[in-house]
């Protein structure tokens, strides 16, 4: 698990009653909670229920989180537990006459959930790294990462960068992003950036 100092700072600010820091935690990690709920095939009402429970448990326990950097893992575990709770509450009575082992439909296996957690954490780290880039880099990378990717001529027109300048700017912005502490320890992020950013220029 990566050691993200910005998470630690956010948690500390929330403990001090900072609503903005709380909002940032929600922005950053609601896709994690959402993605896990989808893996359990919860309907929207159940997802809302799980979300509320998870955030309430977080606000209740945030002062006592033993290790603030472990927040994503804590959220993943709590979301799983809450998802199982709503599933059990809903299904307990439906299969009451069956032997216990047949009462529950199969849940997603641990690997599937683990994968969702890894992806969601990586995405959160990427968005956090992106959010700390200079505005020009954000503009450019947001455009280049849009779906479908735009032609360079379009990028050039919208951002008033000469076409020839897009490649080098892009390389510089990506290189800067790669060095973000948010990506330290995330698969795909990493310290061996120098070589790549040099060759990208």
């Amino acid at each position: 698990m990566h050691n993200d100092s910005s998470v630690i700072a956010l948690v500390a600010r929330v403990s001090d009653g900072d609503q903005e820091a709380w909002n940032e935690i929600i922005e950053r990690y609601s896709p994690l909670v959402w993605a896990i709920c989808l893996r359990y095939q919860l309907d929207r009402q159940d997802i809302d229920d799980v979300g509320q429970s998870v955030w309430l448990l977080l606000i209740e326990h945030i002062g006592s989180l033993r290790e603030a950097a472990a927040l994503p893992g804590w959220l993943a575990t709590t979301t799983r537990r809450e998802a199982l709770r709503v599933l059990r509450a809903g299904r307990r009575h439906e299969h009451a006459d069956l032997p216990p082992e047949d009462q529950m439909p199969p849940y997603p296996d641990a690997e599937t959930i683990e994968e969702a957690v890894v992806v969601a954490e990586r995405n959160a780290a990427l968005r956090a790294a992106f959010a700390e880039l200079p505005p020009r880099c954000q503009e450019l990378l947001a455009m280049l990462a849009s779906d479908p990717p735009p032609a360079y001529a379009e990028v050039s027109g919208k951002l008033s960068i000469p076409i020839g300048g897009i490649g080098p700017t892009r390389a510089r912005c990506l290189s800067r992003m790669r060095r973000s502490p948010h990506l330290a320890g995330i698969v795909g992020g990493g310290a061996s950036d120098v070589e790549i950013s040099e060759s990208g220029r």
Binding site: N123, R170, L174
Partner: protein, 156 residues
């Protein structure tokens, strides 16, 4: 899941960023907003009561007959010290705190505008009309037990 190389090259980093944006956009704005609203509870010390029974998920549920109208939905919230049972009957939400004792029930709609009802000596209370949209109940008994329910939506 996009395969992730040991270290992102420029193309794969852009692709990873695209996936990260897409994942964020897939989350409904109301879901995020509801999470932010939870901050209002940061200094509330109440014990959370979790939904432990919901008749709408129970195929065997047989509505009990009360004086005026048949109950169409029943919910139970349970915390370590308190149980709150709720029943929708017509345009009224009937509730009981267990163990039975008097107390105060604060009805807290997600959109604000809190109201209050009291529970009688045997813990019974009624809320009328039934709140529109999600709300939660904060119950505090005469013996200083308190419980905060999860969000409830009954007007669907």
């Amino acid at each position: 899941m996009t395969p992730v190389p040991e270290v992102w090259d420029d193309e794969s980093l852009i692709a990873a960023l695209r996936e990260a944006f897409r994942a964020r956009e897939a989350v409904p704005a109301e879901f995020v907003q509801a999470g932010k609203s939870v901050f209002a509870w940061h200094n509330i010390d109440a014990e959370l009561a979790q939904l432990t029974y919901d008749s709408s998920r129970d195929e065997d549920y047989e509505p009990s007959l009360r004086a005026e109208a048949a109950s169409i939905r029943a919910l139970t919230f349970t915390s370590a010290h308190l149980t709150v049972e709720l029943e929708v009957t017509g345009d009224t939400l009937l509730g009981q705190i267990i163990p039975a004792q008097g107390g105060v029930i604060r009805i807290q709609p997600r959109d604000g505008g809190e109201t209050t009802v009291t529970a009688d000596e045997i813990g019974c209370f009624s809320i009328r009309p039934i709140p529109l949209g999600p709300f939660r109940l904060y119950c505090r008994t005469r013996d200083d037990l308190d419980a905060l329910t999860g969000w409830i939506t009954l007007d669907t």
